[in-house]
């Protein structure tokens, strides 16, 4: 049940008519470039899938996108160039890691802010002046209970 979202996507993918041997790349890159391409694949969303990158997906769209990335890489484009090209074509939806800009500032900065604010609060809590805190001594009732327990254990 937990997997339903991913699962539906996958089924969707398998349902697609597959061109023969299309999982293989048409454009061949040098080994270093292939490593770069694979890293970039994982950052780009297969736009018809639920939550898969084009590196993980077998969908035709993903294959086409992988091909585009490879071709552009071969043409000497940088990773940023390729990302910009794809965003212009498919929108920001294609980036699995959103850009850092005004409209994503909340997303990116919340963890840092929380750590800072939480850290300050925690620090203040631990270095409170001792006066504001009750003494560590047991209350009278607790003390009696403790003596009672100790007495029983001696018996």
């Amino acid at each position: 049940m937990l997997r339903r979202f991913v699962a539906t996507c996958l089924l969707f993918v398998w349902l697609m008519p597959a061109a023969s041997t299309s999982a293989l790349a048409q454009t061949t890159l040098s080994p270093e470039m292939e490593v770069r391409a694979k890293a970039l694949f994982l950052q780009l969303r297969c736009v018809v899938c639920q939550n898969q990158s084009i590196g993980d997906s077998d969908a035709d769209v993903a294959k086409d996108l992988r091909e585009i990335v490879r071709e552009q890489m071969l043409a000497g484009k940088t990773d940023d160039d390729i990302r910009n090209f794809l965003v212009a074509r498919y929108g920001e939806f294609i980036l699995l890691k959103p850009v850092f800009a005004w409209h994503t500032a909340v997303l990116w900065l919340t963890p840092i802010l929380l750590l800072l604010v939480g850290g300050v609060l925690a620090w203040r809590a631990t270095s409170r002046s001792p006066k504001s805190v009750k003494s560590d001594a047991l209350s009278k009732q607790d003390e009696n209970e403790l003596q009672e327990i100790l007495r029983q254990h001696r018996d």
Binding site: A18, A23, L42, L95, W108, W123, T126, V133
Partner: protein
């Protein structure tokens, strides 16, 4: 008839839950012990009726009664019997019923095992549990009735093929036991706020329940991850999918709760925070249920396709979370702060743990919700996927992972960081050694992988520093040390194992991320491909038909240094009832590593496309979680947790009689 009885039982359970929502709490206000005690009976009654109802639904699945809409939609007469049974919760209505069944189970557990609790606290806890029960029973009765009838159909529409797996038998029940288990800590927190009184005894009662929920949740998440790994057929094991995040969030805050409750129990400090965390943890469970059940996550628009359910759960969510937080603001000032401590101390370390885990949870939460909220406000779509989570979550967690071995060594109130560092020197040296070794074997530029492996080793080795120290392994003779080891409190072992488990999981994650290889190839019959130290030969493919699906599979012989070590049959299945294909990967284990074969296209001339992954050390990911689960069980079996809990008023009489 049985179906109608199941429906009736659900109504009766609801009625009892409404009574239990009011009477025991009324009893605590009027000081009437008899009213308070009614909850002990009624919670058992609720469990009885919900069990009856759940049993009735399961029965109609077992006999494939297609006059029940729910069974007709999610079952098939030709399915194996086990999958017929597990299909009971492989759908919305049934899984909600399972949810409520487990809620009822935990409510009854408080009645059965909570006899040592102060009566008013127990009555309030049971009252709060009844609120939850009544609300969710009402939700089922009004919007998700699994017992609706129709004109009997000849054949069912089949269960989603992905769910026709042993995973469905284990994963959802485990996960729900974890999710819903946190309802007890929630109820305890609310009850404490109603009472306006909270002390270290409260923490001592809450901690075992938190351990139970945490242990099940850990097992459930891990099981789900492995299920996805072998079932989905592309070798991923964690996708940062919203549905996964929904289960991970309560795990993060539940882990924080375990640690803060420890401070509260031992040092009477962090009370307000612990209560808040108990509320938040179950709120995140509820949020997860809402996110998954309402369909908001797939798209804002599917939310509208069934607005009653989504809105109903949203209302439940706001009522419980909002109400709880309101009560918290109102009453938390009554809870006085306890023990004082220096920043460098056991308490300080646990506060640090809580800070990081909360920030990590917030990161996952905002990453999960941001696209939904963004789309709702701007109508534009953005994605927040694995690269975002890996970066942010990873960065937030690293300081905590480094700090883990220090924590248990620090003294309460004021710790000696320098002395501890000396005691951890052996773990540090082990980590450095491993970093150098791994660095020598990795390609240039991949400096992250050796560091990650080093961190994992630091965790695995450093976690046992407390055990080593307490046993005096450095100075004592072997006999003395082993006697001491055996005599250590189980909680010490549990801590060491749980922390070590995180290291083991981390090691698996780092290795598979850094050193995994993927090969995509087309093989003609009798053709071979080399993958690392293996050679794989295509031996032809076969078709067969099973009861409810047809299958095409390739036979792949796997050779290692010239000898055949395994034969793989990656296959594709087709389920005619749902017109759905699935992929069955063929997975072969070598030590902790696996070779993962997935079948792509099969052509007429016998050529097959294969995707082959080498997944080094991947089993460590789940082995680590198994170690954590074992740690949870050991911790639960600790005498101090079990017997320590009831020691309050009643125990005096008992202790005297034992003496």
């Amino acid at each position: 008839m049985i179906v109608e009885l199941g429906h009736l039982a659900l109504v009766l359970a609801f009625a009892l839950a409404v009574v239990q929502s009011i009477v025991p709490i009324w009893g605590t206000f009027s000081g009437d012990r008899r009213l308070m005690a009614t909850a002990d009976t009624s919670s058992l009654g609720i469990l009885f009726f919900v069990t009856l109802s759940f049993g009735a639904l399961m029965w109609s699945y077992a006999v494939s009664d297609f006059s029940v809409v729910n069974v007709w939609q999610n079952s098939h007469s030709q399915m194996p019997f086990l999958f017929k049974l597990t299909g009971t919760w492989g759908n919305h209505e049934g899984s909600m019923l399972l949810w409520v069944f487990i809620l009822a189970l935990f409510a009854a557990a408080v009645s059965l095992f909570g006899s040592a609790l102060p009566p008013s606290l127990r009555a309030n806890v049971q009252g709060v549990q009844a609120w939850l029960l009544a609300t969710f029973l009402l939700f089922i009765l009004l919007t998700s009735n699994p017992f609706a009838r129709q004109e009997a159909a000849l054949e069912g529409q089949d269960l989603n093929p992905i769910l026709q797996d042993i995973g469905l038998a284990i994963h959802p029940p485990m996960l729900y036991l974890g999710y819903v288990g946190f309802s007890i800590t929630f109820a305890f927190a609310i009850a404490a706020l109603i009472d306006g009184k909270i002390d270290s005894a409260w923490a001592r009662w809450v901690r075992p329940w938190t351990f139970i929920a945490w242990t099940f949740l850990t097992a459930g998440i891990s099981m789900g991850s492995y299920w996805a790994y072998y079932e989905l057929g592309w070798g991923g094991w964690w996708f940062w999918d919203p549905v996964e995040n929904a289960s991970f969030l309560p795990w993060l805050s539940g882990t924080a709760l375990l640690h803060s409750a420890l401070v509260m129990e031992k040092r009477d400090a962090l009370k307000i925070w612990t209560v808040l965390l108990a509320i938040l943890t179950f709120s995140l469970s509820l949020l997860g249920t809402f996110l998954v059940r309402s369909g908001v996550l797939t798209s804002v628009h599917t939310f509208a396709s069934d607005p009653t359910r989504g809105l109903f759960i949203l209302a439940i969510l706001s009522a419980f979370v909002g109400g709880a937080l309101f009560l918290f603001i109102l009453r938390s000032s009554r809870l006085e702060a306890g023990g004082l401590f220096a920043p460098v101390s056991r308490e300080g370390a646990l506060v640090f743990n809580n800070l990081i885990l909360s920030a990590a949870a917030a990161t996952v939460l905002i990453g999960t919700l941001y696209p939904v909220v963004y789309e709702a406000f701007t109508d534009a779509k953005i994605s927040v996927g694995a690269p975002f989570f890996n970066l942010t979550f990873g960065l937030v967690m690293i300081p905590l992972l480094i700090a883990v071995p220090f924590g248990p060594l620090l003294a309460w109130k004021r710790g000696d960081l320098l002395g501890i560092s000396q005691r951890l020197m052996f773990a540090f040296l082990a980590a450095i050694l491993v970093i150098i070794l791994t660095g020598a074997f990795t390609q240039k530029g991949q400096w992250l992988a050796p560091l990650g492996v080093g961190l994992a080793v630091w965790l695995m080795v450093g976690s046992f520093a407390e055990v080593i120290q307490r046993a005096g392994l450095r100075k004592a003779t072997l006999a003395v040390a082993s006697r001491r080891l055996a005599g250590l409190p189980r909680s010490v072992w549990a801590t060491a194992l749980a922390h070590c488990g995180i290291g083991v999981t981390l090691l698996g994650i780092v290795c598979v991320t850094a050193f995994e290889t993927e090969t995509i190839t087309v093989l003609k019959p009798a053709e071979s491909v080399v993958v690392g130290e293996f050679s794989l030969r295509h031996e032809g493919y076969a078709s067969r038909t099973a009861d409810n699906y047809s299958e095409r599979s390739a036979r792949i012989s796997i050779f290692k240094s010239g000898e055949i070590v395994a034969v793989g049959t990656p296959s594709k299945r087709f389920f005619p009832a749902r017109q759905m294909p699935t992929s069955e990967a063929s997975i072969h284990t070598f030590g902790f590593s696996q070779l993962y074969l997935a079948l792509g296209d099969v052509e007429g001339d016998g050529n097959v496309t294969l995707r082959i992954w080498w997944k080094p050390m991947i089993l460590l990911i789940w082995l680590g979680t198994v170690i954590m689960v074992i740690a949870g069980v050991i911790s639960l079996s600790d005498r101090r947790l079990r017997i320590g809990a009831p020691a309050r008023r009643k125990s005096k009489g008992k202790a005297a009689s034992h003496a």
